[in-house]
Protein backbone atom coordinates (compact mmCIF):
# COMPACT_ATOMS: atom_id res chain seq x y z
CA UNK A 1 0.00 0.00 0.00
CA UNK A 2 1.59 3.29 -1.08
CA UNK A 3 1.82 6.19 1.34
CA UNK A 4 -0.62 9.06 0.96
CA UNK A 5 2.09 11.51 -0.08
CA UNK A 6 3.12 9.15 -2.91
CA UNK A 7 -0.49 8.76 -4.00
CA UNK A 8 -0.91 12.53 -4.20
CA UNK A 9 2.27 12.85 -6.26
CA UNK A 10 1.24 10.02 -8.55
CA UNK A 11 -2.20 11.54 -8.95
CA UNK A 12 -0.70 14.82 -10.05
CA UNK A 13 1.53 13.05 -12.55
CA UNK A 14 -1.36 11.07 -13.97
CA UNK A 15 -3.72 14.05 -14.06
CA UNK A 16 -1.64 17.03 -15.17
CA UNK A 17 -4.60 19.40 -14.69
CA UNK A 18 -4.66 18.63 -10.98
CA UNK A 19 -3.41 21.53 -8.88
CA UNK A 20 -2.62 21.53 -5.17
CA UNK A 21 -5.38 23.02 -3.02
CA UNK A 22 -4.50 25.06 0.05
CA UNK A 23 -5.38 23.02 3.10
CA UNK A 24 -4.81 23.22 6.82
CA UNK A 25 -4.96 19.49 7.44
CA UNK A 26 -5.25 16.75 4.82
CA UNK A 27 -3.63 16.59 1.36
CA UNK A 28 -5.94 18.30 -1.11
CA UNK A 29 -6.15 18.66 -4.88
CA UNK A 30 -8.24 20.68 -7.29
CA UNK A 31 -9.37 18.99 -10.46
CA UNK A 32 -11.39 20.09 -13.47
CA UNK A 33 -14.93 18.69 -13.43
CA UNK A 34 -14.32 16.62 -16.55
CA UNK A 35 -11.50 14.67 -14.88
CA UNK A 36 -12.80 14.34 -11.36
CA UNK A 37 -14.47 10.96 -11.83
CA UNK A 38 -11.37 9.38 -13.35
CA UNK A 39 -9.26 10.81 -10.55
CA UNK A 40 -11.64 9.53 -7.87
CA UNK A 41 -11.58 6.10 -9.47
CA UNK A 42 -7.80 6.20 -9.54
CA UNK A 43 -7.70 7.15 -5.87
CA UNK A 44 -10.11 4.37 -4.98
CA UNK A 45 -8.51 1.59 -7.01
CA UNK A 46 -4.81 2.47 -6.95
CA UNK A 47 -4.56 4.86 -4.02
CA UNK A 48 -6.37 2.75 -1.43
CA UNK A 49 -8.95 5.42 -0.60
CA UNK A 50 -11.80 2.97 -0.38
CA UNK A 51 -14.39 5.01 1.51
CA UNK A 52 -16.19 8.17 0.47
CA UNK A 53 -16.37 9.89 3.84
CA UNK A 54 -18.18 12.99 2.72
CA UNK A 55 -19.37 14.81 -0.36
CA UNK A 56 -20.59 18.38 -0.25
CA UNK A 57 -20.40 21.74 -1.94
CA UNK A 58 -19.48 25.32 -1.17
CA UNK A 59 -21.29 28.37 -2.53
CA UNK A 60 -18.83 31.25 -2.95
CA UNK A 61 -21.78 33.69 -3.37
CA UNK A 62 -23.53 35.07 -6.43
CA UNK A 63 -21.28 37.03 -8.73
CA UNK A 64 -18.18 35.03 -7.87
CA UNK A 65 -16.95 32.78 -10.62
CA UNK A 66 -16.55 29.84 -10.34
CA UNK A 67 -19.41 30.01 -7.88
CA UNK A 68 -19.84 26.39 -6.75
CA UNK A 69 -17.16 23.99 -5.61
CA UNK A 70 -17.96 20.33 -5.00
CA UNK A 71 -15.73 18.77 -2.34
CA UNK A 72 -15.07 15.06 -1.80
CA UNK A 73 -13.39 13.66 1.29
CA UNK A 74 -12.00 10.18 0.85
CA UNK A 75 -10.78 7.94 3.64
CA UNK A 76 -8.49 4.95 3.44
CA UNK A 77 -9.81 2.40 5.94
CA UNK A 78 -6.46 0.61 5.93
CA UNK A 79 -4.03 3.55 6.04
CA UNK A 80 -6.37 5.84 8.00
CA UNK A 81 -5.61 8.91 5.90
CA UNK A 82 -7.90 11.40 4.26
CA UNK A 83 -7.60 13.18 0.96
CA UNK A 84 -9.69 16.12 -0.17
CA UNK A 85 -10.65 16.40 -3.83
CA UNK A 86 -12.37 19.55 -5.00
CA UNK A 87 -13.78 20.55 -8.33
CA UNK A 88 -15.28 23.83 -9.47
CA UNK A 89 -18.57 23.61 -11.33
CA UNK A 90 -17.92 25.00 -14.79
CA UNK A 91 -21.31 26.70 -15.28
CA UNK A 92 -22.34 29.14 -12.53
CA UNK A 93 -25.96 29.35 -13.70
CA UNK A 94 -26.55 25.63 -14.19
CA UNK A 95 -23.83 23.94 -12.13
CA UNK A 96 -23.24 20.28 -12.90
CA UNK A 97 -20.61 17.66 -12.18
CA UNK A 98 -20.55 13.95 -13.01
CA UNK A 99 -22.03 11.64 -10.41
CA UNK A 100 -19.84 9.41 -8.25
CA UNK A 101 -22.63 6.91 -7.59
CA UNK A 102 -20.95 4.46 -9.97
CA UNK A 103 -17.88 4.41 -7.74
CA UNK A 104 -19.53 4.48 -4.33
CA UNK A 105 -23.23 3.68 -3.90
CA UNK A 106 -22.98 5.76 -0.73
CA UNK A 107 -22.57 8.87 -2.91
CA UNK A 108 -26.25 8.57 -3.82
CA UNK A 109 -27.68 10.32 -0.78
CA UNK A 110 -24.80 12.79 -0.50
CA UNK A 111 -25.39 13.93 -4.07
CA UNK A 112 -29.13 14.14 -3.53
CA UNK A 113 -28.50 16.34 -0.53
CA UNK A 114 -26.05 18.56 -2.41
CA UNK A 115 -28.57 18.90 -5.24
CA UNK A 116 -31.31 19.65 -2.72
CA UNK A 117 -29.33 22.34 -0.92
CA UNK A 118 -27.34 23.95 -3.75
CA UNK A 119 -29.08 22.96 -6.98
CA UNK A 120 -25.99 21.29 -8.36
CA UNK A 121 -26.88 18.60 -10.89
CA UNK A 122 -24.97 15.34 -10.77
CA UNK A 123 -25.08 13.95 -14.30
CA UNK A 124 -25.57 10.20 -14.39
CA UNK A 125 -27.19 10.03 -10.95
CA UNK A 126 -29.87 7.31 -11.01
CA UNK A 127 -32.41 9.09 -8.82
CA UNK A 128 -31.62 12.77 -8.41
CA UNK A 129 -34.48 14.16 -6.35
CA UNK A 130 -34.71 16.21 -3.20
CA UNK A 131 -33.96 14.43 0.06
CA UNK A 132 -34.26 16.83 3.01
CA UNK A 133 -36.71 19.33 1.55
CA UNK A 134 -39.92 18.05 -0.01
CA UNK A 135 -40.37 17.28 -3.70
CA UNK A 136 -41.38 20.41 -5.54
CA UNK A 137 -39.72 22.82 -3.11
CA UNK A 138 -38.77 25.77 -5.32
CA UNK A 139 -35.56 27.04 -3.65
CA UNK A 140 -32.06 25.86 -2.84
CA UNK A 141 -31.62 26.76 0.85
CA UNK A 142 -27.85 26.67 1.23
CA UNK A 143 -27.23 29.11 -1.60
CA UNK A 144 -25.93 32.33 -0.14
CA UNK A 145 -28.81 34.48 -1.43
CA UNK A 146 -31.38 32.34 0.40
CA UNK A 147 -32.23 34.22 3.62
CA UNK A 148 -31.85 32.59 7.01
CA UNK A 149 -35.48 33.40 7.81
CA UNK A 150 -36.71 31.31 4.90
CA UNK A 151 -38.98 32.26 2.01
CA UNK A 152 -42.77 32.23 1.82
CA UNK A 153 -43.60 28.97 0.06
CA UNK A 154 -46.78 26.99 -0.57
CA UNK A 155 -47.24 23.77 1.39
CA UNK A 156 -46.36 20.54 -0.38
CA UNK A 157 -50.00 19.43 -0.25
CA UNK A 158 -52.27 21.77 -2.24
CA UNK A 159 -55.40 20.23 -0.77
CA UNK A 160 -54.41 20.95 2.83
CA UNK A 161 -53.35 24.43 1.81
CA UNK A 162 -56.74 25.14 0.23
CA UNK A 163 -58.50 23.81 3.30
CA UNK A 164 -56.46 25.56 5.98
CA UNK A 165 -54.89 28.50 4.16
CA UNK A 166 -51.56 27.57 5.79
CA UNK A 167 -48.28 28.38 4.07
CA UNK A 168 -44.62 28.03 4.89
CA UNK A 169 -43.81 31.49 6.19
CA UNK A 170 -40.46 33.10 7.00
CA UNK A 171 -39.44 33.17 10.63
CA UNK A 172 -39.83 36.54 12.38
CA UNK A 173 -36.24 37.63 12.85
CA UNK A 174 -36.72 40.91 14.78
CA UNK A 175 -34.19 42.68 12.60
CA UNK A 176 -31.69 39.84 12.80
CA UNK A 177 -29.66 37.80 12.43
CA UNK A 178 -27.08 39.89 14.25
CA UNK A 179 -23.80 38.56 13.08
CA UNK A 180 -20.32 39.71 12.18
CA UNK A 181 -19.35 39.12 8.59
CA UNK A 182 -17.00 36.23 7.88
CA UNK A 183 -13.51 37.33 6.95
CA UNK A 184 -10.73 39.19 8.73
CA UNK A 185 -12.17 41.98 10.82
CA UNK A 186 -11.06 45.53 11.24
CA UNK A 187 -12.13 47.53 14.25
CA UNK A 188 -14.99 49.40 12.60
CA UNK A 189 -16.52 46.24 11.20
CA UNK A 190 -15.94 44.10 14.25
CA UNK A 191 -19.42 44.60 15.60
CA UNK A 192 -22.12 42.24 14.49
CA UNK A 193 -24.47 43.81 11.94
CA UNK A 194 -28.17 43.25 11.68
CA UNK A 195 -28.74 41.63 8.32
CA UNK A 196 -32.44 42.40 8.67
CA UNK A 197 -34.20 39.39 7.26
CA UNK A 198 -37.24 40.28 9.30
CA UNK A 199 -39.70 40.63 6.45
CA UNK A 200 -42.65 38.48 7.28
CA UNK A 201 -46.41 38.41 6.93
CA UNK A 202 -46.65 42.07 8.01
CA UNK A 203 -43.68 43.43 6.10
CA UNK A 204 -43.08 43.22 2.39
CA UNK A 205 -40.17 41.13 1.22
CA UNK A 206 -37.61 43.52 -0.25
CA UNK A 207 -36.78 42.79 -3.88
CA UNK A 208 -33.50 40.98 -4.00
Amino acid sequence: MPATADVTTALREKFPHATPRPSLDHPAVNLPAAEVLAALQYLRDEGGFDMLADLTAIDWAAGVSPRFTVVYHLLSTTRHDYIRVATDCPDDAAPAVPSATGLWPGANWHERETYDMFGITFTGHPDLRRILMWDGYPHFPLRKEFPLAGIDTPLPDAEIMAETGARVIPAPMAGGPFVAAPGEINLTEAEPRAKDESWNERREKPDA
Binding site: S23, L24, H73, W109, V179, A181, E191, K195
Partner: protein, 406 residues
Protein backbone atom coordinates in the same frame (compact mmCIF):
# COMPACT_ATOMS: atom_id res chain seq x y z
CA UNK B 1 -48.96 -37.00 8.51
CA UNK B 2 -49.52 -33.31 8.17
CA UNK B 3 -46.40 -32.68 6.14
CA UNK B 4 -47.51 -34.93 3.30
CA UNK B 5 -50.99 -33.55 3.07
CA UNK B 6 -51.60 -31.02 0.34
CA UNK B 7 -54.48 -29.40 -1.46
CA UNK B 8 -54.20 -30.74 -4.98
CA UNK B 9 -55.53 -27.72 -6.83
CA UNK B 10 -54.29 -24.95 -4.54
CA UNK B 11 -51.38 -24.08 -6.82
CA UNK B 12 -53.58 -24.01 -9.89
CA UNK B 13 -56.06 -21.79 -8.10
CA UNK B 14 -53.37 -19.33 -7.01
CA UNK B 15 -52.13 -18.99 -10.58
CA UNK B 16 -55.48 -17.52 -11.60
CA UNK B 17 -54.78 -14.47 -9.47
CA UNK B 18 -52.46 -11.77 -10.67
CA UNK B 19 -49.69 -11.51 -8.13
CA UNK B 20 -50.08 -8.05 -6.71
CA UNK B 21 -47.69 -5.89 -4.80
CA UNK B 22 -48.75 -3.66 -2.00
CA UNK B 23 -47.37 -0.27 -1.20
CA UNK B 24 -47.06 0.54 2.48
CA UNK B 25 -45.82 3.61 4.26
CA UNK B 26 -44.25 3.09 7.69
CA UNK B 27 -43.69 6.29 9.65
CA UNK B 28 -42.94 9.17 10.00
CA UNK B 29 -44.46 8.61 13.41
CA UNK B 30 -44.19 4.93 14.08
CA UNK B 31 -42.75 3.48 17.28
CA UNK B 32 -40.18 1.31 15.54
CA UNK B 33 -38.76 3.96 13.22
CA UNK B 34 -37.05 5.67 16.18
CA UNK B 35 -38.04 9.20 15.30
CA UNK B 36 -39.39 10.75 12.18
CA UNK B 37 -38.15 8.32 9.58
CA UNK B 38 -40.63 7.16 6.96
CA UNK B 39 -40.11 4.01 4.96
CA UNK B 40 -41.99 3.80 1.70
CA UNK B 41 -42.14 0.06 1.11
CA UNK B 42 -43.30 -2.17 -1.68
CA UNK B 43 -44.44 -5.53 -0.41
CA UNK B 44 -44.96 -8.91 -1.93
CA UNK B 45 -47.06 -10.47 0.78
CA UNK B 46 -45.02 -9.72 3.84
CA UNK B 47 -41.70 -9.52 2.05
CA UNK B 48 -40.15 -6.25 1.00
CA UNK B 49 -39.37 -5.91 -2.68
CA UNK B 50 -38.43 -2.25 -2.48
CA UNK B 51 -37.70 0.23 0.26
CA UNK B 52 -37.31 3.98 -0.06
CA UNK B 53 -36.48 5.81 3.15
CA UNK B 54 -38.01 9.29 3.24
CA UNK B 55 -36.06 11.62 5.48
CA UNK B 56 -36.00 15.34 6.18
CA UNK B 57 -38.89 15.63 8.63
CA UNK B 58 -36.50 16.98 11.23
CA UNK B 59 -34.52 19.21 8.89
CA UNK B 60 -33.84 22.47 10.70
CA UNK B 61 -31.17 23.92 8.45
CA UNK B 62 -28.34 23.63 10.96
CA UNK B 63 -25.72 24.26 8.28
CA UNK B 64 -27.46 27.45 7.17
CA UNK B 65 -27.77 28.58 10.78
CA UNK B 66 -24.05 27.95 11.33
CA UNK B 67 -23.18 30.43 8.58
CA UNK B 68 -25.05 33.13 10.47
CA UNK B 69 -23.49 32.96 13.89
CA UNK B 70 -20.13 32.87 15.62
CA UNK B 71 -18.38 29.57 16.30
CA UNK B 72 -19.30 29.47 19.99
CA UNK B 73 -22.92 30.34 19.33
CA UNK B 74 -23.27 27.16 17.29
CA UNK B 75 -22.30 24.87 20.18
CA UNK B 76 -25.93 24.50 21.43
CA UNK B 77 -26.98 23.45 17.93
CA UNK B 78 -24.54 20.55 18.05
CA UNK B 79 -26.45 19.24 21.08
CA UNK B 80 -29.40 18.76 18.80
CA UNK B 81 -27.63 16.63 16.21
CA UNK B 82 -27.33 13.31 17.98
CA UNK B 83 -29.41 14.36 20.95
CA UNK B 84 -28.73 11.03 22.65
CA UNK B 85 -25.04 11.89 23.01
CA UNK B 86 -24.71 15.68 22.98
CA UNK B 87 -21.41 15.71 24.87
CA UNK B 88 -19.72 13.74 22.11
CA UNK B 89 -21.06 16.18 19.48
CA UNK B 90 -19.86 19.17 21.52
CA UNK B 91 -16.39 17.71 21.62
CA UNK B 92 -16.24 16.80 17.91
CA UNK B 93 -17.32 20.30 16.91
CA UNK B 94 -14.88 22.02 19.26
CA UNK B 95 -11.96 19.93 18.03
CA UNK B 96 -12.87 20.60 14.38
CA UNK B 97 -12.76 24.36 14.92
CA UNK B 98 -9.61 24.07 17.04
CA UNK B 99 -7.93 22.23 14.19
CA UNK B 100 -8.74 25.26 12.06
CA UNK B 101 -6.96 27.50 14.55
CA UNK B 102 -4.17 24.90 15.04
CA UNK B 103 -4.96 25.13 18.73
CA UNK B 104 -4.04 22.41 21.21
CA UNK B 105 -6.06 22.34 24.41
CA UNK B 106 -4.36 21.37 27.71
CA UNK B 107 -4.28 17.77 28.94
CA UNK B 108 -6.93 18.33 31.60
CA UNK B 109 -9.37 19.67 29.02
CA UNK B 110 -8.65 16.69 26.73
CA UNK B 111 -9.20 14.25 29.58
CA UNK B 112 -12.50 15.86 30.58
CA UNK B 113 -13.63 15.69 26.96
CA UNK B 114 -12.69 12.02 26.71
CA UNK B 115 -14.50 11.23 29.96
CA UNK B 116 -17.67 13.03 28.85
CA UNK B 117 -17.54 11.48 25.38
CA UNK B 118 -17.21 7.97 26.77
CA UNK B 119 -20.03 8.59 29.23
CA UNK B 120 -22.10 9.81 26.30
CA UNK B 121 -21.20 6.62 24.43
CA UNK B 122 -22.40 4.46 27.28
CA UNK B 123 -25.61 6.44 27.61
CA UNK B 124 -26.23 6.30 23.85
CA UNK B 125 -25.56 2.57 23.63
CA UNK B 126 -27.80 1.93 26.64
CA UNK B 127 -30.65 3.67 24.87
CA UNK B 128 -29.78 1.88 21.64
CA UNK B 129 -29.89 -1.50 23.38
CA UNK B 130 -33.06 -0.69 25.27
CA UNK B 131 -34.87 0.41 22.13
CA UNK B 132 -33.52 -2.57 20.19
CA UNK B 133 -34.84 -4.82 22.95
CA UNK B 134 -38.30 -3.30 22.67
CA UNK B 135 -38.23 -3.65 18.89
CA UNK B 136 -37.63 -7.35 19.29
CA UNK B 137 -40.08 -7.82 22.15
CA UNK B 138 -37.84 -7.57 25.21
CA UNK B 139 -39.20 -4.87 27.48
CA UNK B 140 -37.04 -5.55 30.53
CA UNK B 141 -33.79 -4.49 28.85
CA UNK B 142 -35.20 -1.04 28.33
CA UNK B 143 -36.10 -0.60 32.00
CA UNK B 144 -32.69 -1.77 33.19
CA UNK B 145 -30.86 0.36 30.63
CA UNK B 146 -32.83 3.46 31.47
CA UNK B 147 -32.14 3.09 35.17
CA UNK B 148 -28.42 3.22 34.42
CA UNK B 149 -28.85 6.01 31.93
CA UNK B 150 -30.61 8.07 34.56
CA UNK B 151 -27.53 7.83 36.78
CA UNK B 152 -25.42 9.15 33.93
CA UNK B 153 -27.82 12.00 33.37
CA UNK B 154 -27.50 12.96 37.01
CA UNK B 155 -23.75 13.24 36.48
CA UNK B 156 -24.23 15.22 33.26
CA UNK B 157 -26.54 17.58 35.05
CA UNK B 158 -24.04 18.14 37.80
CA UNK B 159 -21.28 18.83 35.30
CA UNK B 160 -23.06 20.93 32.70
CA UNK B 161 -26.26 22.13 34.35
CA UNK B 162 -28.42 20.30 31.85
CA UNK B 163 -29.43 16.69 31.40
CA UNK B 164 -29.91 16.70 27.68
CA UNK B 165 -28.73 19.88 26.00
CA UNK B 166 -25.33 20.07 27.59
CA UNK B 167 -23.53 22.67 25.39
CA UNK B 168 -20.41 21.90 27.36
CA UNK B 169 -17.56 22.56 24.93
CA UNK B 170 -16.22 25.92 23.92
CA UNK B 171 -13.73 26.59 21.18
CA UNK B 172 -10.44 26.27 23.04
CA UNK B 173 -11.82 24.73 26.19
CA UNK B 174 -14.95 23.95 28.13
CA UNK B 175 -17.83 25.83 29.66
CA UNK B 176 -16.47 25.16 33.15
CA UNK B 177 -14.16 22.88 35.09
CA UNK B 178 -15.44 19.69 36.71
CA UNK B 179 -17.16 20.24 40.06
CA UNK B 180 -15.60 19.10 43.30
CA UNK B 181 -15.84 15.35 43.83
CA UNK B 182 -17.42 14.73 40.44
CA UNK B 183 -14.68 12.44 39.15
CA UNK B 184 -15.10 10.28 42.25
CA UNK B 185 -18.80 9.93 41.52
CA UNK B 186 -18.06 8.94 37.91
CA UNK B 187 -15.65 6.35 39.23
CA UNK B 188 -18.30 5.01 41.60
CA UNK B 189 -20.75 4.85 38.71
CA UNK B 190 -18.28 2.76 36.68
CA UNK B 191 -17.80 0.31 39.54
CA UNK B 192 -21.46 -0.35 40.08
CA UNK B 193 -22.26 -0.23 36.33
CA UNK B 194 -20.09 -3.13 35.18
CA UNK B 195 -22.00 -5.93 36.96
CA UNK B 196 -25.31 -4.41 35.91
CA UNK B 197 -24.12 -4.19 32.31
CA UNK B 198 -23.39 -7.91 32.40
CA UNK B 199 -26.90 -8.47 33.72
CA UNK B 200 -28.42 -6.37 30.94
CA UNK B 201 -26.42 -8.08 28.24
CA UNK B 202 -27.24 -11.50 29.69
CA UNK B 203 -30.89 -10.72 29.03
CA UNK B 204 -30.23 -10.64 25.29
CA UNK B 205 -27.00 -12.34 24.32
CA UNK B 206 -28.20 -15.95 24.64
CA UNK B 207 -31.89 -15.14 24.49
CA UNK B 208 -33.54 -17.56 22.06
CA UNK B 209 -36.20 -15.11 20.90
CA UNK B 210 -33.72 -12.29 20.45
CA UNK B 211 -31.33 -14.49 18.49
CA UNK B 212 -34.12 -15.79 16.27
CA UNK B 213 -35.05 -12.23 15.49
CA UNK B 214 -31.52 -10.95 14.78
CA UNK B 215 -29.07 -13.69 13.75
CA UNK B 216 -28.71 -13.64 9.98
CA UNK B 217 -31.09 -10.68 9.65
CA UNK B 218 -29.90 -7.59 7.83
CA UNK B 219 -26.52 -8.93 6.80
CA UNK B 220 -24.17 -6.25 5.48
CA UNK B 221 -21.01 -7.43 3.79
CA UNK B 222 -17.68 -5.83 4.52
CA UNK B 223 -17.50 -4.40 0.98
CA UNK B 224 -20.99 -2.92 1.11
CA UNK B 225 -20.36 -1.38 4.49
CA UNK B 226 -17.33 0.48 3.15
CA UNK B 227 -18.94 1.39 -0.18
CA UNK B 228 -21.95 2.96 1.54
CA UNK B 229 -19.80 4.86 4.01
CA UNK B 230 -21.11 3.08 7.08
CA UNK B 231 -19.28 3.96 10.27
CA UNK B 232 -19.27 3.16 13.94
CA UNK B 233 -20.67 -0.07 15.35
CA UNK B 234 -22.51 -0.70 12.07
CA UNK B 235 -19.23 -0.78 10.17
CA UNK B 236 -17.41 -2.76 12.83
CA UNK B 237 -20.26 -5.24 13.00
CA UNK B 238 -19.42 -6.08 9.40
CA UNK B 239 -15.87 -6.95 10.34
CA UNK B 240 -14.02 -3.72 9.52
CA UNK B 241 -11.87 -2.86 12.52
CA UNK B 242 -11.97 0.87 11.90
CA UNK B 243 -12.21 3.14 14.92
CA UNK B 244 -10.94 6.70 14.70
CA UNK B 245 -10.06 6.71 18.41
CA UNK B 246 -7.40 4.14 17.52
CA UNK B 247 -6.69 4.99 13.87
CA UNK B 248 -6.38 8.75 14.17
CA UNK B 249 -6.32 9.47 17.90
CA UNK B 250 -7.59 12.86 18.98
CA UNK B 251 -8.02 14.47 22.39
CA UNK B 252 -5.39 12.15 23.87
CA UNK B 253 -7.10 8.83 23.08
CA UNK B 254 -3.67 7.37 22.30
CA UNK B 255 -2.91 7.25 26.06
CA UNK B 256 -5.69 4.81 26.82
CA UNK B 257 -5.74 1.10 26.32
CA UNK B 258 -8.89 -0.34 24.83
CA UNK B 259 -9.96 -2.93 22.28
CA UNK B 260 -12.01 -2.37 19.16
CA UNK B 261 -14.62 -5.12 18.90
CA UNK B 262 -15.55 -6.31 15.40
CA UNK B 263 -18.29 -8.62 14.17
CA UNK B 264 -17.87 -11.56 11.86
CA UNK B 265 -21.10 -11.84 9.91
CA UNK B 266 -22.40 -8.29 9.77
CA UNK B 267 -25.92 -9.16 10.85
CA UNK B 268 -28.11 -7.38 13.39
CA UNK B 269 -26.88 -9.66 16.16
CA UNK B 270 -23.25 -8.74 15.48
CA UNK B 271 -24.09 -5.07 15.65
CA UNK B 272 -25.70 -5.72 19.03
CA UNK B 273 -22.62 -7.60 20.28
CA UNK B 274 -20.30 -4.82 19.14
CA UNK B 275 -22.32 -2.21 21.08
CA UNK B 276 -22.34 -4.35 24.18
CA UNK B 277 -18.57 -4.79 24.10
CA UNK B 278 -18.01 -1.12 23.35
CA UNK B 279 -19.68 -0.22 26.63
CA UNK B 280 -17.24 -2.45 28.52
CA UNK B 281 -14.36 -0.79 26.65
CA UNK B 282 -15.74 2.66 27.42
CA UNK B 283 -15.71 1.82 31.11
CA UNK B 284 -12.09 0.73 30.66
CA UNK B 285 -11.22 4.09 29.10
CA UNK B 286 -13.14 5.94 31.82
CA UNK B 287 -11.25 4.11 34.54
CA UNK B 288 -7.87 4.97 32.99
CA UNK B 289 -8.81 8.58 32.33
CA UNK B 290 -10.02 9.02 35.90
CA UNK B 291 -6.93 7.34 37.33
CA UNK B 292 -4.52 9.72 35.63
CA UNK B 293 -6.81 12.72 35.62
CA UNK B 294 -4.37 15.58 35.07
CA UNK B 295 -4.36 18.92 36.86
CA UNK B 296 -3.47 22.25 35.33
CA UNK B 297 -5.56 24.60 33.22
CA UNK B 298 -8.79 23.32 31.69
CA UNK B 299 -8.82 25.72 28.73
CA UNK B 300 -6.26 27.08 26.30
CA UNK B 301 -4.95 29.97 28.38
CA UNK B 302 -2.79 31.41 25.59
CA UNK B 303 -5.56 31.60 23.00
CA UNK B 304 -6.53 35.17 23.80
CA UNK B 305 -8.54 35.76 20.66
CA UNK B 306 -10.44 32.47 20.97
CA UNK B 307 -11.30 31.58 24.56
CA UNK B 308 -12.89 34.15 26.84
CA UNK B 309 -11.02 34.74 30.13
CA UNK B 310 -12.50 33.75 33.53
CA UNK B 311 -15.32 35.92 34.83
CA UNK B 312 -13.44 37.37 37.81
CA UNK B 313 -10.73 38.66 35.45
CA UNK B 314 -13.34 40.16 33.12
CA UNK B 315 -14.85 42.10 35.98
CA UNK B 316 -11.56 43.44 37.28
CA UNK B 317 -9.21 43.93 34.34
CA UNK B 318 -9.66 46.19 31.31
CA UNK B 319 -7.61 43.99 28.97
CA UNK B 320 -9.65 40.88 29.74
CA UNK B 321 -12.89 42.81 29.43
CA UNK B 322 -11.97 43.84 25.88
CA UNK B 323 -11.00 40.25 25.06
CA UNK B 324 -14.31 38.96 26.31
CA UNK B 325 -16.23 41.65 24.43
CA UNK B 326 -14.48 40.81 21.16
CA UNK B 327 -15.01 37.07 21.54
CA UNK B 328 -18.70 37.47 22.38
CA UNK B 329 -19.52 39.99 19.66
CA UNK B 330 -17.22 39.16 16.76
CA UNK B 331 -16.61 35.53 17.69
CA UNK B 332 -13.40 33.59 18.30
CA UNK B 333 -10.98 34.70 15.61
CA UNK B 334 -10.03 31.98 13.14
CA UNK B 335 -7.58 31.99 10.24
CA UNK B 336 -8.83 31.49 6.69
CA UNK B 337 -8.71 27.95 5.36
CA UNK B 338 -10.57 24.69 5.50
CA UNK B 339 -10.45 21.63 7.73
CA UNK B 340 -12.29 18.35 7.87
CA UNK B 341 -12.37 16.59 11.20
CA UNK B 342 -14.12 13.36 12.05
CA UNK B 343 -14.68 12.01 15.55
CA UNK B 344 -15.76 8.53 16.57
CA UNK B 345 -19.18 9.21 18.04
CA UNK B 346 -21.48 6.56 19.54
CA UNK B 347 -23.54 6.32 16.33
CA UNK B 348 -20.54 6.40 14.01
CA UNK B 349 -18.26 9.02 12.58
CA UNK B 350 -19.40 12.61 12.99
CA UNK B 351 -17.52 14.92 10.64
CA UNK B 352 -17.33 18.68 10.45
CA UNK B 353 -16.05 20.38 7.32
CA UNK B 354 -15.35 23.99 8.22
CA UNK B 355 -14.57 26.52 5.50
CA UNK B 356 -13.37 29.80 6.95
CA UNK B 357 -12.58 33.13 5.35
CA UNK B 358 -11.17 34.26 8.67
CA UNK B 359 -13.02 36.00 11.46
CA UNK B 360 -15.50 34.62 13.94
CA UNK B 361 -18.13 33.23 11.56
CA UNK B 362 -17.72 30.20 9.32
CA UNK B 363 -18.32 30.63 5.60
CA UNK B 364 -19.59 27.09 5.31
CA UNK B 365 -20.03 24.34 7.86
CA UNK B 366 -20.91 20.91 6.59
CA UNK B 367 -21.99 18.28 9.09
CA UNK B 368 -21.30 14.75 7.98
CA UNK B 369 -23.63 12.78 10.17
CA UNK B 370 -23.25 9.05 10.77
CA UNK B 371 -26.97 8.33 10.83
CA UNK B 372 -27.43 9.86 7.38
CA UNK B 373 -24.77 7.62 5.84
CA UNK B 374 -25.83 4.55 7.81
CA UNK B 375 -29.44 4.85 6.69
CA UNK B 376 -28.47 5.19 3.03
CA UNK B 377 -27.86 1.43 2.91
CA UNK B 378 -31.45 0.63 3.95
CA UNK B 379 -32.83 0.25 0.39
CA UNK B 380 -30.26 -2.48 -0.15
CA UNK B 381 -30.40 -4.25 3.22
CA UNK B 382 -34.16 -4.37 3.73
CA UNK B 383 -35.12 -5.94 0.41
CA UNK B 384 -36.04 -9.60 0.77
CA UNK B 385 -36.81 -9.34 4.47
CA UNK B 386 -40.13 -9.56 6.30
CA UNK B 387 -41.62 -6.34 7.67
CA UNK B 388 -40.98 -7.59 11.19
CA UNK B 389 -37.32 -8.07 10.26
CA UNK B 390 -37.15 -4.48 9.08
CA UNK B 391 -38.08 -3.46 12.61
CA UNK B 392 -35.18 -5.53 13.93
CA UNK B 393 -32.81 -4.08 11.33
CA UNK B 394 -33.79 -0.51 12.20
CA UNK B 395 -33.26 -1.30 15.86
CA UNK B 396 -29.83 -2.71 15.15
CA UNK B 397 -28.80 0.40 13.19
CA UNK B 398 -29.28 2.68 16.21
CA UNK B 399 -29.76 5.94 14.32
CA UNK B 400 -31.01 9.34 15.40
CA UNK B 401 -33.03 11.46 13.02
CA UNK B 402 -31.84 14.69 14.63
CA UNK B 403 -28.43 14.24 13.10
CA UNK B 404 -29.66 12.50 9.97
CA UNK B 405 -31.81 15.47 8.95
CA UNK B 406 -29.79 18.21 10.67
Amino acid sequence: MAAEFSFPDAAARAAEFEPEKMSLSMGPSHPSTHGVLRLQMELDGEILTKCDPVIGYLHRGDEKIAENMTYNQFVPYTDRLDYIAPLANNMAYAIAVERLAKLEVPARCQAIRVITAEMARISSHLLGLGAFGIDTGAWTVFMYAFTEREKLYKLFEELTGARFTTSYSRIGGLARDVPEGWTGRVDAFCDQFLPILEEILALLTRNKIFMDRTVGVGVISREDAIAYGLTGPNLRGSGVGSDLRKDRPYSGYEQYEFDVPVGTKGDSYDRYLVRGEEMRQSVRILKQALAKFPGGPWYATEARRIFAPPKDKILTSMEELIQDFMIVTAGPQMPAGEVYFEAENPKGVLGFYVVSKGGGVPWRLKIRSPSFCNLSILPKVCVGHLISDVVAILGSFDFVMGECDR
